[in-house]
Symmetry: C2
Subunit: 461 residues, 2 copies
C-alpha cells in the first residue's frame, strides 16, 4: 500500500462526491421503513434492496439479502486478503414511527437540508450514520486505500428489539468472522468534543403482582386487620434500596467490577454541568448511590427503578377500598460484568422471601440483556482515538452510557467479537422524535474519520 | 299511662296489621329513589311525599317536606308533652344504584317475598329498617302507649354522603331538639345473636402526588442519578407504618382512647371464627397492629390504607421509563376521639417533611369525618339492651364497626345529641349489592323491639 497523507485523498474524494453522497442518503430516507408498522413491511424489502445496491456500487465482492423470521438483513463483503484483519460493520435500515406527525416542520420521509442539517426520520438513527460507512468504504475502494477486509450487516429490526438478529448471527457465524465490529449508532458529546461510548448497561425487568384478599374489600370494615396489597407492595419495593442508594438484593453487586481510578478520571473529563442538568429536569437535587457522581451513577453503577405501579382506585375523588391486588413493573440496569439471568433469580428469590405470609406474591421476568464494556486499551479503541484526533484535533473522551443496546452484548456472546462504538450523532439530533436531523458536518466528519480508523486498526492488529 | 304487658299489645297489633305493614313498605320500595342518578330526582320527591303521608297516617301532629340544596328531607313529629323526653328518628329514603341488573333474581324495584325475606333494592338499607320506626310509632299511637315525644328526620342523600343534612340540622337545631337519636341503619351479628353498634370509625382521606423530573425519562440514561417518583412514593408510604403495624405519623395516637379491659372483654363476646375469616378472604394470615385481635384492629384501633396507587407504564409488557409523577390515594380510619381535621394536618406535615428534596410533593385532602362512640353506660344503650332482651331473650353484644357513618358524628357536633344504633340487618342482606333482602322476622322483630326501647328509655331519662 502506498504511503499517503491520511487526510488528503479523503478530502479530495469527499469534495468531488459530496452531493451524490447526500443524494444517496436521501434515496434511503425516502423509504418509510418503520419496522413496528405492518403496513411498511414492503418498505423493509425496498430498504434491504437499496442497501444491497449501495454495497455493490461501493465495491463489495458480493451483497445478499437474507430472510429471517422477521425483517430481512442485508449482508455484503469485500475480502481483499484473508490474512488481513476484518472489520464487520453493523447498522440498521429500520426507523421509528413518526407520530406526532403534526410536530414535523417538513415531512419525515421527504428529506431536506436546512441550517446545515439533514431533516428526516432516520437522518441520523441510523440511516445517516450507517450511510457514512457505505461511503467511507466506497472512498477506500475507489482511492485504493482499503487496508483490510470489510463486512456489512445491516438489519431491519433494531427499533423493535433485534428479535431475530441473534439467531441469524448464530446461523452465520462463519460468514461473520471478524476482528472487530464497528458501529455508529451512538452520539458524541459535542461537535468540538468527540467521545467514544465505552460502556452500555444491561437490563433485567420484572412484573410483580401482590395479592391480598380474594376480592376488593371495604377499607373501613377490614382496614387494619387484613394485609393491604398496596401497603405491602410499597414496603417490599422500599426495602429494595437502602439509605446509601444501594440495591439491597443479596448478591446483587457480586459481579460489579469497580472501575479503576484512572478510568474514573478519564470519564470525569466529559463535560457535565450539574446546575444545567437539574434545571433542565426541574429538580432541586439529584439523587443516587453515595460516593459516585451523576455521570458515574448512570455510567458505571447499576440502578433500580420502578417503571410502573398500579392498584386499587385511581379515578376522581375518594373511594374507600382495600384492593385485592397491586402491581409494579420493576427494572434494574446492570453494569457489563453482571449476568441478567443471575440477577433475574436473585431478585425473584429476594422479593418472594421478604414478602409477608399475609399476601401472595408473583414475580414474572419480562426481559433482560447483558451490558457491554469496551476496554480503553483495546486496539480498536486506540485506533478510533487516533482517527478522531486526526479529524477533530482532540482526544475523544470515553463515555459510559446508562442505556442498553442488548444486541451489542449478543454479538460478543454469539460471535465472540468486541464492538467499537464510533458515534457521530449529537444530543440535538432528536432521534425517535419529530424533526430528527443530522448535521452535514458530522455526516462528512464521519466519512473522514472512518477510513482513518481502518488504517490505524489494520496497522495495529 | 296504663300498666301493660310489654309484649301483648305489641303482638296483637302486629298480628292484625302485618300484611298492611309489608304492603306499605312495598309501596316505598317501588319508588326508584337512587340518589346518585339525576334521572331519579323526581323519585326523591315521590319518596319524600310517601314518607310525609306515612307519618301523618301513623299519627304525627305534623309532617313536612324540607328543601335542601340537594334532595328533600321529610320531617314529622308528635309532641305529647314538652316535659317528656324526645326521641329523634333518623333514616334515609334514598338507595344505591342497582347495577349489575342482570344479577338480580327479581327486579330491584318490584319487591317480592321469597323464603321469608323481602327482596328489593332498599328492602333493608334503609327503607325496610326505617319503615320499622314508622310502624312502631303507629303501633304506639294506636295502642295509646307512646311514652314520649317523637320526631322523624328522613333524608334523601345518605348514599351520596349526606352532603346537605349537616347544614339543614344547623338551620333547624331548635326543631330537632331531642334527648337521643335513634337509628336503624346497621346490622346485628345473627338472628339469634343481637348486637348494638357502639362505635364507628372516623376517616381522613388524601391524594398525594410526587413529582420527580419534569417529563418522563429514559430509565437507562437517567436511572440511578435522578429520583424516580415511584421509588420515592413507595419509600414515603412504607415509612407511614412500622413493624408493629402502628402508624408512625407523629401525634397520630395522641387522642386515641384506650378501651377499658372490661369493654374489651365485652367486645370479645362477639363470635369470631378466625379460620373462617381467613378462608373467606383466601389469606394465609391476618395482619395488623401487634397486641390487638382482628376484631379490635377494625373496631377500636385506627388503620392506614392505600386505596389506590398509580404512575408510569401500566400496559402490557415492558417499557423502560422513569415517570415524571406518581400518585396515591391514602386513607386512615380513626377512632372516636380522634379529630380528622387535626389528622389531616399531621399527615400532610409529616408526609411533606420526610420527602427528599429531589422530588416535589403535593398532598390534597379529599375528605374526612369524625368517628362515633356510644358508651355502654348511656341510658339509651341500657334501654336498648333491655328491649333486645325482651324480644330476643339474649343480652345484645356491643360491637364496634370498622366502617364510618360520618353523619352520626355530625349529629353529635351540630345538635349535641348522642345516637343509639339499633340495627336489625344481617350480614346476608346484600345491601348495596344485587338481590338485597330483609328477613321478615327481622322486620317484625324491629317493630317489636322499638316500642320497648321507647318504654325503657322514657322510664330512665
Amino acid at each position: 500500500m502506498p504511503k499517503f497523507n491520511p487526510m488528503k485523498h479523503i478530502e479530495k474524494y469527499i469534495e468531488e462526491n459530496k452531493d451524490r453522497f447526500v443524494e444517496e442518503l436521501f434515496g434511503l430516507l425516502r423509504i418509510p421503513s418503520v419496522s413496528s408498522l405492518a403496513v411498511n413491511k414492503p418498505d423493509m424489502y425496498r430498504a434491504a434492496e437499496y442497501w444491497k445496491q449501495l454495497l455493490l456500487n461501493a465495491g463489495a465482492d458480493k451483497a445478499e439479502i437474507f430472510e429471517t423470521e422477521g425483517n430481512p438483513v442485508t449482508y455484503g463483503e469485500k475480502i481483499i486478503d484473508p490474512a488481513k484483519p476484518t472489520i464487520l460493520i453493523y447498522g440498521h435500515m429500520d426507523v421509528m414511527p413518526v407520530d406526532p406527525l403534526n410536530l414535523w416542520t417538513s415531512p419525515p420521509f421527504e428529506p431536506e437540508i436546512r441550517d446545515g442539517k439533514i431533516w428526516a426520520r432516520g437522518a441520523e438513527d441510523n440511516k445517516g450514520q450507517s450511510m457514512m460507512h457505505a461511503k467511507a468504504f466506497e472512498l477506500m475502494v475507489s482511492t485504493n486505500t482499503l487496508p483490510c477486509n470489510v463486512k456489512f450487516m445491516i438489519e431491519g429490526e433494531e427499533e423493535v428489539g433485534s428479535q431475530n438478529l441473534g439467531k441469524w448471527c448464530e446461523q452465520n457465524k462463519e460468514m461473520l468472522k471478524a476482528d472487530i465490529i464497528l458501529v455508529s449508532d451512538t452520539s458524541m458529546i459535542a461537535p468540538d468534543m468527540p467521545s467514544i461510548t465505552t460502556g452500555l448497561r444491561g437490563l433485567a425487568y420484572w412484573q410483580v403482582e401482590v395479592t391480598g384478599p380474594n376480592k376488593d374489600l371495604h377499607s373501613g370494615l377490614f382496614g387494619g386487620a387484613v394485609a393491604n396489597p398496596i401497603n405491602v407492595l410499597t414496603k417490599l419495593i422500599a426495602q429494595m434500596t437502602d439509605e446509601q442508594g444501594r440495591i439491597t438484593i443479596p448478591g446483587f453487586y457480586d459481579d460489579v467490577v469497580e472501575i479503576s481510578a484512572e478510568e474514573r478520571a478519564l470519564l470525569a473529563q466529559a463535560p457535565f454541568d450539574l446546575e444545567k442538568y437539574k434545571q433542565s429536569l426541574d429538580i432541586a437535587e439529584v439523587s443516587g448511590e453515595v460516593g459516585y457522581t451523576t455521570t458515574e451513577r448512570t455510567g458505571i453503577r447499576p440502578s433500580f427503578d420502578v417503571c410502573g405501579i398500579w392498584g386499587g382506585y385511581t379515578g376522581e375523588g375518594a373511594k374507600t377500598v382495600m384492593p385485592s391486588k397491586a402491581f409494579a413493573k420493576i427494572s434494574t440496569r446492570l453494569v457489563p460484568n453482571q449476568d441478567h439471568q443471575k440477577i433475574e433469580i436473585l431478585f425473584k428469590e429476594h422479593f418472594e422471601s421478604i414478602a409477608p405470609k399475609s399476601v401472595k406474591v408473583e414475580v414474572t421476568y419480562l426481559h433482560g440483556g447483558y451490558g457491554y464494556g469496551c476496554p480503553i486499551d483495546l486496539p480498536a479503541y486506540q485506533a478510533a482515538e487516533k482517527a478522531y484526533v486526526d479529524v477533530y484535533g482532540k482526544r475523544p473522551v470515553p463515555v459510559r452510557s446508562g442505556g442498553s443496546i442488548p444486541i451489542i452484548s449478543t454479538f460478543e456472546q454469539v460471535l465472540g467479537i468486541k464492538t467499537i462504538l464510533m458515534g457521530f450523532g449529537l444530543e440535538s439530533d432528536a432521534i425517535h422524535s419529530p424533526n430528527e436531523n443530522f448535521a452535514l458536518e458530522q455526516f462528512f466528519n464521519g466519512i473522514r474519520t472512518i477510513p482513518l480508523f481502518y488504517k490505524y486498526f489494520a496497522e495495529m492488529v
